[in-house]
Symmetry: C2
Subunit: 336 residues, 2 copies
């Protein structure tokens, strides 16, 4: 049974472990610095479907296929899937996972969705509600651009602080096990809003959420940056990462050399024209379920914090002049 420690953190007891993981990306992501880590990519941005939205559904379907294959289980062994994406009404998830015929809980936390799903899933497994659970999230550059910003055909200019929505999906399958990477602690985030209104600078809106959740976790557990190999956020990008360093520096903590942002890992920001870095529910999800898992299994990392952040705006709220509330959920992943 997990135990609550401090105000916001849950410590697991029975090793909810990654028994399977999978990742699928687009060509641009495959061309990036960690492109070879992913299970599959496709030169066709539509992934053989008729629309960008259906391509995003395909990404989810394929990511879960790879995770099932690694876990060596069948779909009907999974008790419940937590899935989410950036599309209105989560259609990336509902259409993408329908053929697996597994009970489905859609969740929403923008780019933090993988963290939210892993948190819910691991605690429900740790305390015996579920035996096996899956978490799947995705994003697609083209479906996100036309939903949040402009049709691609318009060819709009992007600001220096803007981020590039990653075409990717990641899937994790969790079960209590031993010998595999496992989730040892979870901190669910609260909504932060410091009044940032620029929808092209989401890193700035999300940095306070990352700071707030990481600080709550440190306070609750009495640990600090020196206790972890690395803190992965996703996706603050260049602008948001620098703001995160500034926020921690006020507490006299320098996290710069213990921090990687998935938005900055996905692309080479110098020559891939992504400005401040990658973003999207699929960015940190695909990196966790490829590069990070691979490095935990080969012993490079033994104890990390995975802290995806989400900007909870919609085009409607932005047009109505509202600020961008943000949230970050944290999972502590270990491998003995």
């Amino acid at each position: 049974m997990c135990k609550k420690q401090g105000k916001f953190t849950y410590i697991t007891e029975n090793r909810p472990s990654f028994i399977g993981y999978g990742s699928v990306v687009g060509k641009k992501e495959h061309d990036g610095p960690i492109g070879k880590e992913f299970d599959e990519y496709n030169e066709d941005i539509r992934f053989g479907t008729k629309s960008y939205e259906m391509a995003e559904s395909k990404l989810q379907e394929l990511a879960l296929k790879h995770a099932l294959s690694r876990a060596n289980i069948k779909p009907d062994n999974i008790d419940l899937i937590f899935a989410g994406d950036l599309l209105n009404q989560c259609i990336g998830s509902t259409f993408g996972l329908i053929d697996y015929n597994i009970p489905l809980s859609c969740i929403y936390g923008a780019c933090s969705t993988m963290g939210l799903g892993l948190g819910l899933s691991s605690l429900m497994i740790d305390n015996g509600v579920l035996n096996i659970s899956a978490v799947v999230t995705s994003s697609h550059f083209c479906s996100a651009e036309r939903q949040y910003r402009f049709p691609l055909e318009y060819g709009n200019q992007r600001t220096p602080t803007s981020q590039w929505t990653t075409t990717a999906a990641g899937a994790s399958i969790l079960k209590c096990d031993s010998g595999k990477p496992y989730i040892s602690a979870v901190t669910f985030g609260k909504v932060c809003d410091l009044g940032v209104k620029d929808a092209n600078n989401m890193g700035a809106a999300m940095a306070p959420a990352a700071y707030s959740t990481i600080k709550a976790f440190f306070d609750d557990t009495g640990t600090g940056i020196d206790d972890y190999d690395l803190i992965f956020t996703g996706d603050l990008g260049k602008t948001g990462s620098e703001l995160l360093y500034e926020l921690f520096s006020k507490d006299n903590i320098d996290i710069r050399f213990k921090h990687s942002d998935c938005g900055l890992m996905m692309f080479n920001i110098k020559n891939q024209d992504v400005h401040s870095g990658g973003s999207g529910c699929g960015c940190s999800a695909s990196i966790l379920n490829s590069y990070i898992m691979n490095r935990m299994l080969d012993g490079t990392f033994k104890n990390i914090l995975f802290v995806p952040t989400g900007a909870l705006l919609s085009p409607t709220s932005s047009m109505q002049g509202k600020s961008i509330p943000s949230i970050a959920h944290l999972v502590n992943i270990r491998k003995d």
Copy 2:
């Protein structure tokens, strides 16, 4: 600790109970047959805010306020809120609940969202992950019309099978307790898709999901309609309810006299111009957290099934010619 029974059903052990509940509706809902059951209504469709979307956020804020007051607890006693709505990126929830400063998990299941939230929340409480949890969902006629269909100013005709999105929010607060109505079992739904493509006939799309989840629950528990006082679906409306009777009649089961649909309870469909009935995440949520709770506390109902159904379409998927996948989540609520 809850136990899984059969393939899809979880039986609780520690009485995750409704220690608080609240409901807020618009004027049209207040004028309906059960209008006096709700905690609060407002003549102003904008609830004192500048937009329909912010009005929906206000509905969530107020519903939770009433639930907190009945539970006689403070916001920071709540470990985690599950919240959802119909608006893109769940902005009804994120903006509505921000000031409570409680860890937030947004969930999405269209009109089934309250069932999904109660399922997750009750099982996490039953197995000791959470001590106190809240579930809040909402919908608003005006914000839904302009997002899913047409701007109100357009004055479009509505088809006879269409449903009227309810302006309402409901909030439940759960904790293990005794003497109060409690969730004794949960069945999470799978996505059903029988190929219905008419976005103005969501009852038809959702009826198979309701049938599938109720049947799974009956199969798993070895119970039948005679074991329950009433089965509440939400929101099949008139068209969907009749299709549900037809589906059960093929199994030689007549559920007609043991069934109420929240979409049909909310309005007088003969004179309130709502065609096939009400709908929306707030419809069944507000009825559960008013009429149904009140009738459980006064002894009218002792054992009911609450089975909200969701149509998982988006305007984008409909425009791309896709069908309407649907889902239904079931909670069995008892009062000794």
